[in-house]
Structures are given as structure tokens and as C-alpha cells.
Symmetry: C2
Subunit: 530 residues, 2 copies
């Protein structure tokens, strides 16, 4: 793939430390492991568009557009709120029976210690196999403020967008997933079978952090290992029609740090007490505050010794991808800040350094704090416990175990062995190369549809894709055309018929992308890797 050089720009990371001090926090240096050594930049425009065309399959999609839309609506009208255990069993069976109807030979609802998974194997007699990851659960309807019944599957005309399907799950993730199955249906109707064997492996707990997905994977592990890649149907176009790609996700360590009254460091153990007793009793709240304060510097930079030691230097591929990514983002820095409601990047870093941290650096974030009285006005108590919810995003080669051990060690070294640290969740990061056949296939299909997607080597968010990349050793990618929004908010939607002039793909074009992708991946697997 073509590499372009990014324009030379003086890097403040190269300034003498003294000058950086003079400049102050307006230009804070990034943490040490993020130093990079190439200016080469990846450009997705250099990739040749996929040349395949399947007019007989496309024709089926055009003919069946109403039936296919009705499939999406049928899925959206079945509530499946994992957090509230609402409609979960029904949705799992609906997905399984749809797979059966589509010609999947083996299908099963897969019991777990939590909500069940769904398995389906489509035997196309092909040499290669694609695993399709799906999630059949959705967020709760809350927060309220919906224009329509969140489970009515209604079509709504939205100015500037076109005709959208507005329902919980419309874009996250039922819409894209059923669109993918519509594409498969059209292939089967037109050509008898898809060019690859398919394994659908779905879970009903994605919105809960996928606690039991490893159990589902374990059940089929031998068969899954023989597959060639994992794909997650996802609408990636923004409102303006720009699609994007990402090749990796961060891992996470999610902890609760709790200080409680105890025999060693004191404080009330049974219940809150009157606030005046602070004169003679120890305070778990102050203990928590003091313990937390040792974890960062006054300006919020991680202060746990060795916390970044496991972070490997960005690879040459990652650097090229990142350089390409930042080139595309320079123009709209103000817009990016406005989108998150902030006036500056962390500690005044430049856009490039902030973006580098998002891709390559770990974090230590307070998600929540709670102790004692949190209502309006005056109430004087000395709380007997104080809790912080803290997460850390992990990049290669960090692991949740090692990160947790470093935090524990640091707290102990500072005399805070009375602070309980509970791991609520944890998994490592996941990564796929841009050189993998799956990546090349997805990108070439984007190119066919006129897209030059920015390709992030990694997003700042976390997902347990390590089960694919690490447990199964497979490339894993999410992608697709289409635009939706409101995933965890009211009025979630996915565009069905875009407004005139829009660059957003409608339902049929989104389905065509998935048709092409199956053929493109089958072709890419035939070619030698570059």
C-alpha cells in the first residue's frame, strides 16, 4: 500500500525539557513510550477498489427490499434488554430460527451462566470460513425522551437524513446484523450458497460487558479455530457519509476501590455516624481520597510506578496508520473538541499528542465516586464507607492482571493496604493487521463504494475481541456502510432511505456491501499475503 510522508512539523516532544516547563501545561509532553520514529503515513486511497460485481444478487436485494426491511422491523419489535432480562429468551430463539430458515445447517441456543448465546453453522462446502460475531441484546430504553415507541420499529422522516428506522437496537446492532443476513439471503437465492462457510456466534450480553462470551467461544473452540477471520457487521458512516475503519480495541481493567471502617485504620464499621464524630474517629472517605490521590499527579497524569512499562512501542504499521489518521483530522480540531464539550486536550497537549494517547496510551479514569450524603443541602455525617469506580484502558502488551498488581503494590507501598481493590471486569486489548486478508478485503470494498476511510490502528474504546484475536488467533474486523446514531440514547435510528444528495448508504446499498465483502474475503484468502 502506498505510504505518504506527513508534512514535517516541529514536534514539541523534541523541545528541551526546560522550554517545555516555560511553555507550561499548555503543551504537556506525552508519556515516554509514545515516541515514534517514522513520518510515513498510510493512505487508504492507495488501495485498489474491489473489482467484483454480483448484479444477480443485487437484483434480488432490490426486489426484496420491502421483505428485507420487514425483517429488520421484526427484530426491532422484539425487545431484548439484557440489563433488564427483557425478551432475551425470545430474541435468542428468533435469531436461531432465522438462521435455520436461511439455511444454516446446525443451529443452537447456547446456555451460559448468564443470557444464552446463539450458534449457527452454514456449510457452503467452501474451503474457507468466516465467523460472524453478533450481539442480540440492546440497551435499556432509558433515558426517556423517545419520539416513538422504542420497540414499535417505526419508520420516521428525519430532515437532512431521510427515512429512518427509529427503535432501540436500530443501529446497535440489530439493524446492521439483519442487513448482513439479508445479504446472505440474496446470495443464497441467486447463487445457491455463499462463497464461504459461515459461523454465526452471537451473545445476549454485549451491553453487560460480554461476561459469558468466552463460555460460548469455548464450546465451539475447535471449529472456530479453523475459521479464517471474524466479522462484526457495523454501520460506520457518519452523518456526512464518511466511513471509517479501526483494526484494534483497547483492553480494560475495571475496579472498585473501597475504603471501609476497619480495625486497623479505624473509622465507623457498622454505619455512618454523626459528622461531629470526625473529631475523634477516622474517616474512610479521607482514606479513599488520599489513596486515590497517590495514583495520579495533581494534574491527573498516572503516577503508579511502572504502569507504562509493559506498553510496547508503536509498531511501524501502527505508526503509519496513526500518521495517516492524524493527517485527516487536523482540519477540524475545534469541531472535535466541541463534540466532547471540552476547551482543550488533556493538560493542554496538541491534537497530535492527544490523538496518540487515545490510540497508544493507557488511562486511569474515575468513572464514579460515592460516599455518604449526596443530595441537596446540608446533612452532616461521617460515612463508614467510600467507593471509587476506576477503569484503566489497556494497550499492548498490558494485561489486566499486571495493571491490577501494580496498583495494589503502589497502594500498599504508600500505606493504603486498608483500601480494598475489587476487579469487576478485565480483558486484554485486541489487534488485527492492516495486511490481513480480512482487512484488505474490507478496505477494498469500502474503496469500491467510493470511500477512503481513515484507518485507526486502535480505537480508545474497549471490547473483548481478544477472544477472537488472542484465544482463537484470528483477524477480527467490524465494518460496513450505513449510518445510525443514538446507540445508548433516545431516538436511536438507522437510515433506510437517505435524503436526496446524501452520501449515506441506504439499506440496500448497505446490504450490497456485505455481499461484496463475502466475495472479497473469499478472493483475498486465495491471494498470497503481501
Amino acid at each position: 500500500m502506498r505510504i505518504r510522508r506527513r508534512p514535517a512539523a516541529p514536534s514539541l516532544r523534541l523541545l528541551p525539557a526546560a522550554l517545555a516547563l516555560v511553555l507550561g501545561p499548555a503543551f504537556a509532553a506525552p508519556p515516554a513510550p509514545l515516541s515514534m520514529d517514522t513520518d510515513q503515513a498510510f493512505d487508504s486511497a492507495s488501495v485498489a477498489p474491489f473489482a467484483g460485481a454480483y448484479p444477480d444478487v443485487y437484483a434480488r436485494l432490490e426486489q426484496r427490499r420491502e421483505q428485507d426491511l420487514a425483517h429488520l422491523q421484526r427484530w426491532l419489535r422484539q425487545p431484548s434488554v439484557s440489563a433488564q432480562n427483557r425478551g432475551i429468551g425470545e430474541m435468542a430463539e428468533l435469531l436461531r430460527s432465522d438462521l435455520q430458515a436461511l439455511g444454516f445447517r446446525d443451529t443452537a441456543v447456547v446456555p451460559t451462566a448468564g443470557h444464552p448465546g446463539v450458534y449457527g453453522y452454514y456449510d457452503a462446502g467452501a474451503e474457507h470460513t468466516l465467523i460472524v460475531y453478533m450481539m442480540y441484546d440492546v440497551q435499556p430504553v432509558e433515558p426517556s425522551g423517545w419520539k416513538v415507541d422504542a420497540f414499535a420499529g417505526e419508520l420516521v422522516d428525519e430532515p437532512g437524513l431521510g427515512r429512518v428506522l427509529m427503535a432501540r437496537g436500530a443501529t446497535n446492532q440489530k439493524g446492521p446484523q439483519r442487513a448482513f443476513l439479508n445479504a446472505l439471503d440474496a446470495i443464497v437465492r441467486a447463487r445457491g450458497k455463499p462463497p464461504l462457510n459461515l459461523i454465526v456466534l452471537a451473545e445476549g450480553e454485549e451491553e453487560l460487558g460480554s461476561p459469558h462470551y468466552p463460555q460460548i467461544v469455548a464450546r465451539y473452540e475447535q471449529r472456530l479455530r479453523r475459521a479464517d477471520g471474524v466479522f462484526f457487521p457495523m454501520s460506520t458512516q457518519d452523518r456526512d457519509g464518511q466511513a471509517s475503519m479501526f483494526l484494534g480495541v483497547k483492553g480494560i481493567l475495571y475496579m472498585e476501590l473501597e475504603a471501609k471502617g476497619n480495625p486497623v485504620s479505624g473509622g465507623p464499621q457498622r454505619s455512618e455516624v454523626h459528622g461531629s464524630l470526625a473529631a475523634k474517629l477516622d474517616s474512610p472517605s479521607w482514606r479513599l481520597v488520599q489513596a486515590l490521590a497517590t495514583l495520579t499527579t495533581p494534574d491527573g497524569e498516572i503516577a503508579v510506578p511502572g504502569y507504562r512499562d509493559a506498553i510496547r512501542k508503536p509498531s511501524a504499521e501502527e505508526q503509519r496508520l496513526f500518521n495517516g489518521l492524524v493527517l485527516g483530522r487536523k482540519a477540524d480540531e475545534a469541531k472535535q473538541l466541541a463534540a466532547v464539550g471540552a476547551a482543550r486536550w488533556k493538560n493542554g497537549r496538541r491534537l497530535r499528542d492527544a490523538a496518540a494517547a487515545e490510540v497508544f496510551d493507557t488511562t486511569l479514569n474515575i468513572d464514579g465516586l460515592v460516599a455518604g450524603y449526596t443530595g441537596e443541602g446540608v446533612k452532616t455525617i461521617l460515612p463508614h464507607r467510600a467507593l471509587a469506580k476506576v477503569d484503566s484502558r489497556l494497550v499492548p502488551d498490558q494485561t489486566p492482571e499486571q495493571a491490577l498488581a501494580l496498583i495494589r503494590k503502589h497502594l500498599d507501598a504508600n500505606g493504603f493496604n486498608d483500601i480494598e481493590v475489587r476487579r469487576l471486569s478485565g480483558y486484554p486489548p485486541a489487534q488485527t493487521s492492516i495486511e490481513a486478508p480480512l482487512s484488505r478485503a474490507v478496505l477494498s470494498v469500502y474503496r469500491k463504494y467510493g470511500q477512503t476511510p481513515p484507518v485507526a490502528p486502535r480505537i480508545g474504546g474497549s471490547a473483548p475481541y481478544y477472544v477472537f484475536t488472542q484465544t482463537l488467533g484470528l483477524p477480527m474486523l467490524a465494518g460496513g456502510l450505513g449510518h445510525g446514531a443514538g446507540a445508548h440514547a433516545p431516538n436511536e435510528y438507522t437510515v433506510i432511505d437517505p435524503a436526496p444528495g446524501s452520501k449515506v448508504a441506504g439499506l440496500v446499498e448497505t446490504e450490497k456491501f456485505y455481499v461484496d465483502l463475502l466475495y472479497a474475503f473469499a478472493q483475498a484468502l486465495q491471494q498470497p499475503q503481501r
Copy 2:
């Protein structure tokens, strides 16, 4: 009054600093201003019992016990929850009309910017005047768990206690206050008038922190200034029948410290954002934690420079009172710790030092902490604001203004000028001398009823009694026999007929105490102060 010497005990405060370090936090030294220089101890047994007796008045109380109990029930059946504005107007009028019926010449419901006050003036044609402070509001019924309707005014047999009146306000504070008025009623019925003029000055916002009581005082300030003291009817006997006295209260400064996303120190300003953005955005939660951490040492001792500078050394009287108080408490240290659910005093201090802090030292207490997600399980957000509710108890000569200024200055000096500090409430401490005629009168009446109450120069709690001691320049005391509990909890009660063998005063004996007190105070005002 007789002074006794407390037994000599080696004071760890006198140990060399190096040895204290070796001993470590198991015996932390008290803050510097608390050093004392006398071993003399006040003994309330040295005070002569009040010699007065009013059998004609007592007889009325015995005769009218059912009607008088019915008065308490009538008050308790009228809800008056200030926090919920429930029954406030009705209770204010009920109190006013009761005062009128009792012979108060002038009565008024007093409008304020909040709930109204109630004023009543009883002109006995006497030389001296006693102000009776009352609060007619009660706490909400919550938390639930009541055995009876909280506003039914029911009599309940409680094993070990006897027959109790169980209702919200039974002991805090309607029961004792109406018992006081029953005592006045008996005096008027038997003797035509009380030995003192009386001013009842009540508020309906005590449970809200008395925000508008100064307005009520201001309205009658000239008349109030000419009074001789202020009395607050209060059942002070514990379950075993031991009464207690206190001569002062701490002041308070109640603050909210808030960190919010802002243009200078960054962070999301509009709403929480995704937790993964911690890689590139500043965190108001970390700012708050770091700012709070500068206010104390790692083990929770106040670290604000100069914060104790305004604290005056305990006076000789305060020291004698304190020494007497501690003598009486030595035996049951384990019980005291158990009562608050703690295994040790603050930083391992000895009982005496912990008790000294409760009486003489200021505090800095976290009442509440809140930021972001505080529910169960995993949710990853970067909150755009974080809030701490902090109170500081103030002792002479601290003021809320000075304390707040020191905290602000310290935050600014440490670079935390982005932390907003809001004062929600603040008032100075209040103090009455044991030598005041009111104190001598109350103590002598306790002695008449066989009590040798421990006398605290000050309690650890706060009340805005400065309006009496400072604004009006009057002695102020709370006191009385009787036992009740559950003031801010379910099943609040006051004992009406104690169980056989109990040392707790029943309703009639409690009323006799108030009869005696009025005469004792009138007498004490005739005697020269010692």
C-alpha cells in the same frame, strides 16, 4: 464548686517526638492548641441540690396527667416535617394558639423567608425574663421501619423501658417542649403566674439548619436582649437514667467543593463523556480528588496551614469541666467505641485525647462524595463534574468566614483555583459559663432529682445558639429529665411511664423538673454571682 484532682497519668503528649514516631499512629499526639495546664476536675456532686418544693403545683401535674399526656399526643398527631413542608402552617398555628390558651399575652406566627416562627410573651409582671427556645418541626418519617403510624401518637409498651409515646417528634422535640408547657400550665393553675416572664421563640426549620431563625430573633431583638437567659427543654437522661449537661456547641462551616470541566483546567463541560476519552481529556474527578487530598494528611489530619491558629487555649473553667468529664468516662471506653462502631479512636489516640478533640478541636469532615456512575457493576464514563460535601466544626475563636478563607487560600496556593468552594451554611460556636445563674439553676435542679450530671464545656455537635450567646449576649442552656431516642430514625419515642426500677423520669417527674427550674432560675437571679 468543688474541684477534684484527676489521677496523675503519664501523658503521651509529653513524650519526645522521636518516641511518638516509634510508637507510630497507635498513639498519635493531639494537635498543638489542645495542651492543658491544670489537673483540677469539676464535680457536679459538689453542687447543692435545689431546695425549693412546690407541692401544690406538683399536685396539679398528678391530677392532670391524662390531659397533659393528651396535649403531647395532640402535638405529635400534627405532622410538621420541615424538609417536606408538611403540616408546617398548621403546627405553627397550633403552637401559637396553645400559648394563647396558656395565658401568653402577645402571640404571633412570625413570617420569615422560610417556614414561619412562633412568638409568645407571658407577662408575669416579674423582674426577670426567661426565653424558651422551641422548634416545632420534625424530621421526615423516613427511613421506614416504624412499628406504628409515625403521626398516630400511640402509646407502646417497650420491654425494659415502660410505656412510651412512639411518634415522630416524641423526643425531638415536641415531647419535652409540651411537657415544659404542661409545667407552666400547672404553675398558672396553682399560683396564678410563673415566677418569671417568659418569651417563647420557636422556629419551624431546626431540622433544616435554622436558616431563618436569625430573622425571627431580629424581629424581637430589643425585647429579647432584656431577658436573662435562654432555655431549651430537652430530655437528657440515657436509658439507664443518667442525665447530662453541656454548656456549649461547636459552630460549623458546611461547604460544597466542586470540580467541573472548564476552559482553564479542561475536561468535558457539557455532560459526561465516554470513559475511553480519559486518554485525551482532563478529568474533573481527579482534580477534585487531588484538591481534597491537599486538605489533609494521608491519615486524615487537617493539613490546611493556619487552620488551628484562631483556636484559643481551653480556659481554666473548660479544662476543669473537661477533666471532670473524662474521669467519668474512663471506665467504659470499649462501650463508647462500640456505640459508634469503631475499633479505635482517630489515628489511635487515647480516650482522653480523643475526648479532648471532640470538645476543643476543629474538624474537617467529608459528609459526601459524588461523581459519575455510582450504581452496581461496570459503566465507563468520564464525569464532567465531581462534588464533595465537607463540613468543619468550629471552636472558639474560629469563624466560618476565616475557616473558609483559609481553605480557599490553600487550594489556590496549590493551584486548585478551578475548584469551586460554595458555603452552604456557617455559624460560629456558642458558649455559656458554668458560673452563669442559669447553669447553676439547672444543675441544682438536676441535683435535687438525684442526678450528678457530667458537664461538658462543649459538645462535638453544632447548633446556631450563637444567636443567643453572641447576638443577644445571653446564657443559653438545654436540659431536662426524661429519656427518649430515635430522633432521626424509625420508632422515635419518649418514656411516659418508666418500667419498675427504672431511673428514668416519667412524664410527670419531667414536668416537675421544669416547674423547679423556673423557680430555681428566678432564685439564682436574685443571688450574686460567685
